[in-house]
């Protein structure tokens, strides 16, 4: 099954690069959604032989939340907002992609340093998951719109879920669902906060949130 896993990992890397280069918020949300759906298939692809019920259920919830519910919440929010694209991010799109490539190379190096102890795992899991995490962190710090920062948080979550998928079999379903519930609540609360920011400031530029210093 490693072939499928490798494909998923390559897809993760490609979507990350796309996110780094996109300016339209709607497109960003959709790419993050596709990334979530593909990620939801990872636990199934990692499993050898029959698929146990709890794994199928976990995958279904993962795809449902990250592929459908989160994007739906964010797209609805986008409709309320007056803004459609990220204007003048702190780091330009070309530079972002170049930095992303450099980050990916260091993630591959890191993957060699930290091999998964379990035998037979795809060698791409660790670099691709790390790269997704780095992309998420980068998006949260380098973009001005609160909505893009929330998308960055989602991408970060995706990267962590990729690690989680590698270990999900040994962990009880309840915890995995609890983690997803938290992610859901986080997106929900962030959505409300963005709505308030939009109303209070007439825009969602988080860099205008700067009256509190030292």
């Amino acid at each position: 099954m490693n072939n499928t896993v490798d494909m998923i990992m390559i897809f993760l890397v490609l979507t990350n690069l796309a996110l780094l280069g996109l300016s339209r918020l709607g497109a960003c949300i959709r790419v993050a959604a596709v990334q979530g759906i593909v990620l939801g298939m990872l636990p199934l692809a990692l499993n050898r032989g029959d698929i146990p019920l709890h794994l199928g259920l976990y995958s279904a919830v993962l795809i449902g939340l990250k592929g459908i519910v989160f994007p739906w919440v964010l797209l609805r929010l986008l409709k309320e907002l007056k803004t459609r694209r990220e204007i003048e991010p702190f780091v330009g799109y070309g530079t972002s992609i170049a930095l992303g490539m450099a980050a990916f190379v260091s993630c591959i190096w890191l993957g060699h340093r930290l091999p998964l102890p379990e035998p037979g795992m795809s060698a791409l899991i660790v670099p691709a998951a790390f790269f997704t995490i780095v992309t998420g962190l980068f998006l949260t710090v380098s973009r001005k719109k609160a909505l893009t920062q929330a998308i960055g948080y989602l991408v970060l979550e995706n990267g962590i879920s990729a690690f989680g998928a590698a270990v999900v079999e040994t962990q009880p379903l309840l915890i995995e669902l609890g983690i997803l519930l938290d992610a859901f609540m986080a997106v929900f609360v962030m959505g409300i906060a963005i709505f308030h920011i939009n109303r209070e400031f007439d825009h969602i530029d988080a860099d205008k949130l700067s009256s509190l210093r030292t």
Binding site: R113, L114, L116, P117, E118, I133, L137, T140, A146, Q149, A150, Y153, L156, E157, I160, F163, G164, A166, V167, T170, Q171, P172, I175, G178, I179, L181, D182, M185, A186, V189, M190, A193, H196, I197, E200, F201, A206, L209, S210, S211, L212, T214
Partner: protein, 494 residues
């Protein structure tokens, strides 16, 4: 009596739902106090009954858990009494902003009264959980239910603070989740099939954990939960949230929530100790601890806003706690005692700061003077709180800081001790100049005219907390001493 944990979880959760359903401001506030009272009574009962493991060992009150649960519960009780009076004063229509003069409204009181017990529920889960995954889920939930509390005053500054808190803490805690997954990956080599993240299972088979993955896991947990705990340089959300939230919420964030985040770090530290990585973790804890203290000292000196000063003082004290655990030996006991003392003193100070803010309508230190003559009770509390928080004898913080310094000298780390005392002295000077200026000076006549005497509900809770902080400096009750000792032993002290 194992059901006591269920009671501790059920009471605040049920009251959170109840406040949503019932109408009437007074009823909601009464429910809040009743829930807090029941929770504290349940916690006291847990001291006597030693509730055993529940749900396959997922929940248990071990010594560190019981210690932090007690702090949280007592603080919450004091805060709910204070909040009863506070909500009464805050109700009503539009308010004028103290800093910029625009008009704003508060969030509906029902949001406050629902989020507060929900916050207690999630913090209780943090203290009773023995499963690292459950601990993480509860920790993230604390962020989500407390963010609306920070945005209680609906204006742009508190919104900014709430957004920073939400985003920085969520990202930080996401890293801690990664750390938890790394622990599971490190556990791949366990001989038995039992690979769940229950603490006792991990501790039992710790020698089979994969060291490189475990090291990475500890680093991520330290950074992740450290963000929430307010360790420098990850503390950036903390001064904003503490200064913009209502004072009673600041008291809870500082006194209860930071300790809960510390517990998250301590749990991963326990696993690392069992796996023989003690030295690696201790060095990191000492480094972050010292950095936090130094960072706080820089920002406390000349800090123009007294609530922000208290927030930076929290950064200093979580630094001392991390430092104490990192030193090992006797300092771990000091660190545990410090957690108790700091919570009591800091909550007392935030409540007093709330009274000052309500009277003077400003958070700027320079524009407040004569607190002792204008509002004498608060003035006395403010000065007593200053002495307590800077570790002047006979307050409890002196005892705990002294224990930590003593341990440094015993370990031959004289240089570290000198740096530690130097930073404490700097902070003392920085805080003294602000506190003395505020307490002394001319009585403000025009402010006094339209206000009655200080409300009892705003004075009694901080007074009780201050009395407890004073008592702990003179005499540590034997039951508490035993608990602190047992917790310290579990965390590598003696």
């Amino acid at each position: 009596m194992n059901t006591i944990i269920y009671v501790l979880l059920f009471v605040p959760a049920a009251s959170a739902v109840l406040t949503l359903i019932v109408g009437g401001a007074l009823v909601r506030r009464t429910i809040l106090i009743a829930a807090a009272g029941c929770h504290t009574a349940g916690t006291l009962l847990a001291w006597h009954t030693n509730p055993g493991p529940l749900l396959n060992g997922w929940m248990m009150l071990d010594e560190p858990g019981l210690l932090f649960l007690t702090i949280t519960s007592v603080l919450f009780l004091a805060c709910s009494v204070y909040a009863f009076g506070y909500l009464g004063r805050e109700s009503g229509s539009e308010k004028q902003d103290n800093e910029e003069g625009f008009l704003f409204t508060n969030a509906p009181e029902v949001v406050f009264c629902t989020c507060l017990p929900a916050f207690l529920t999630t913090m209780t889960i943090v203290t009773v959980s023995q499963h690292l995954g459950l601990l993480w889920v509860a920790m993230e939930a604390t962020t989500l239910v407390s963010a609306p509390l920070i945005y209680f005053h609906r204006h742009h500054r508190s919104l900014e603070a709430a957004w920073k808190y939400l985003l920085i803490c969520s990202v930080g805690i996401a890293l801690a989740l990664l750390g938890n997954f790394f622990i599971v990956i490190a556990a791949a080599g366990f001989p038995s099939d039992d690979k769940t993240m229950v603490l006792s299972v991990l501790l039992r088979q710790a020698e089979h954990l994969n060291p490189p993955w475990l090291k990475a896991a500890f680093l991520l947990c330290l950074v992740g939960y450290g963000t929430k705990m307010g360790l420098a340089p990850l503390h950036t959300w903390l001064p904003d949230a503490h200064s913009e939230a209502p004072s009673v919420i600041s008291a809870l964030l500082s006194g209860a929530l930071l300790n809960c985040a510390f517990l998250g770090i301590l749990r991963s530290y326990q696993v690392c100790m069992a796996a023989g990585l003690t030295l690696f973790c201790q060095e990191l804890l000492v480094l972050f601890g010292l950095l936090s203290m130094g960072w706080a000292a820089v920002f406390i000196l000349g800090q123009p806003d007294y609530k922000r000063m208290l927030a930076y003082s929290s950064v200093e004290h979580v630094g001392i706690m991390a430092l104490g655990v990192g030193l090992g030996a006797g300092a771990v006991f000091g660190s545990m005692l410090h957690a108790v003392n700091h919570s009591l003193a800091k909550a007392m100070l935030f409540m007093a700061a709330g009274n000052i803010l309500a009277f003077y309508k400003t958070k700027t230190t320079a524009r407040v003077s004569g607190v002792l003559t204008s509002i004498p009770m608060t003035g006395v509390l403010w000065l007593a709180g200053f002495l307590a928080i800077t570790g002047v004898p006979p307050f409890g913080l002196f005892l705990s800081e002294f224990t930590i310094v003593k341990s440094m000298i015993e370990q031959g780390k004289i240089g570290l001790g000198v740096v530690f005392l130097g930073i404490l002295a700097l902070i003392f000077i920085g805080m003294a100049s602000a506190f003395v200026h505020m307490a002394q000076g001319e009585k403000n006549k025009e402010l006094r005219a339209d206000r009655g005497p200080e409300p009892a509900l705003a004075i009694l809770p901080p007074m009780a907390l201050g009395a407890a902080a004073l008592m702990l400096g003179l005499y540590v009750p034997s039951a508490l001493g035993r608990l602190l000792n047992a917790a310290a032993v579990l965390l590598g002290g003696n």
